[in-house]
């Protein structure tokens, strides 16, 4: 039996040159299964939206209806959290939602889940965190300190509250990355482990074959749960991106 961790191993494919980034860092650009999964995920989104919006009509077709459904779903969510300025940030939120959703869902059909790679989730989380920082400083300048000093808190409490706020703020990219990574990793490991029980039990003879029905049912149930998790984690990532953006966009309005 293969190890449940084997599915996360990177296998090098097409050899591409190693490039040197500014700062003398060498990066091997060779394609591997993780990069292929990302390429397919993004390619599917682009292909779908290219077709769905190619003949965008006031009365939508089937594909356009799905595209508009996704669009409205995230647009309403972003508007509900960020408010009237949500349209500026919507392209980023929508792109990251679709990309994560597409990678998660592809993981249910292909042998590789890009979002179960820590490198991928860390990059996505850091990207969101840095955008929040940049937007925050561009809009608020030095007033960014208000993020850590909630108004309406007695001054003596600030000695306690401010360190907590600072820690929680800088833990955001960590939790953002680990939540997605952990969910995808755990789900796929659990699937593999349960699936591994089936042939192991079946090898024990007639009783084992009957007993193997239990893990089989478990795998079926887990698979449907994993579809839910795949969607939910993409949505949670998008919601948290909106929440973090809202903190710096409407700084001082809520605190």
């Amino acid at each position: 039996m293969a190890s449940p961790m084997e599915q996360f191993e990177i296998h090098k494919g097409l050899q591409l040159p190693t490039v040197e980034l500014p700062g003398g860092i060498l990066v091997d650009l060779s394609l591997n299964n993780s990069i292929m999964a990302m390429l397919i995920a993004a390619g599917l989104i682009i292909a779908f939206f290219a077709v769905a919006t190619s003949r965008a009509a006031v009365v939508p077709g089937r594909m356009q209806l799905i595209a508009e459904g996704l669009f409205s779903y995230i647009d309403d969510m972003a508007h509900g959290i960020i408010g009237h300025e949500s349209r500026k940030f919507f392209p980023y939120v929508f792109s990251i939602f679709l990309f994560v959703l597409s990678m998660n869902m592809l993981g249910m059909f292909l042998s590789f889940t890009a979002t179960s790679q820590l490198a991928v989730t860390v990059t996505l989380a850091l990207m969101t965190f840095l955008i929040v920082l940049v937007v925050g400083f561009l809009r608020n300048g030095v007033n960014m300190y208000k993020l850590f000093v909630p108004s309406g808190v007695p001054w003596y409490m600030l000695f306690l509250v401010t360190p907590i706020e600072i820690i929680s703020f800088f833990l955001r990219p960590v939790t953002l990355a680990l939540r997605l990574f952990g969910n995808m990793l755990g789900g796929h490991v659990a699937l593999k482990v349960f699936a591994g029980f089936i042939p192991s039990l079946a090898a024990l003879g007639a009783v084992g074959v009957v007993g193997a029905i239990l893990p089989l049912a478990g795998v079926v149930a887990l698979t449907s749960l994993e579809f839910l998790v795949a969607f939910l984690q993409a949505f949670v990532f998008a919601v948290l991106t909106c929440v973090y953006l809202n903190d710096v966009v409407n700084l001082g309005d809520h605190h």
């Binding site: 990177i10 860092i25 919006t53 669009f71 790679q117 996505l124 850091l126 955008i131 937007v135």
Partner: protein
Amino acid sequence: MAAEDTLTAPGAAPAALEGAHAGTAPADNGGGGGLPQFELQYWGGQIVWLLLIFIVLYTLMSRVFIPRLRRVKDTRAETIASAVAEARRVQDEADAQATSARAEIEQARTRARTVAAEAKARANAEFAARQAEADARIADELAAAETRIRSLRDTAMASVGDIAVDTAGAMVERLTGTAASAADLRAAAKGAA
């Protein structure tokens, strides 16, 4: 614009960070235990590719797909809003027309009522006049007839005395054989009358 700049900016940092790791990472990928995700030699390529893919995806989304969908949705909202406004306007117009029509009907009904009342009054007056005329004519005729009857009766009554005298004279003559004097007869008739 700003968001895109920010997209490229974070790209450099983690890639640089992890690239540095990748350079120094020990080649321990053969050993069991550790998660394959911690093989840092693959992080640099994944991060750079992820950023490239995401920039392409973001650019296409923000420049092409989202504007298309936004335009359609705005157009639809506009169409619906204008259709609703148009419907409301037409409804108001219809209401106004209905009100004026009702007023017109009311007016026509009033006019019809007055016309009918007038016609009735005229007919009544005419009828009354004609009846009065007829009554008068009948009364005249009645009076004339009564006068004639009365004169006829008077003449008839006047003749009765003479007839009675003649008759009495004839009867007296037949019974007694002698004619009675006319004066006696007349006195007797008067007494009998």
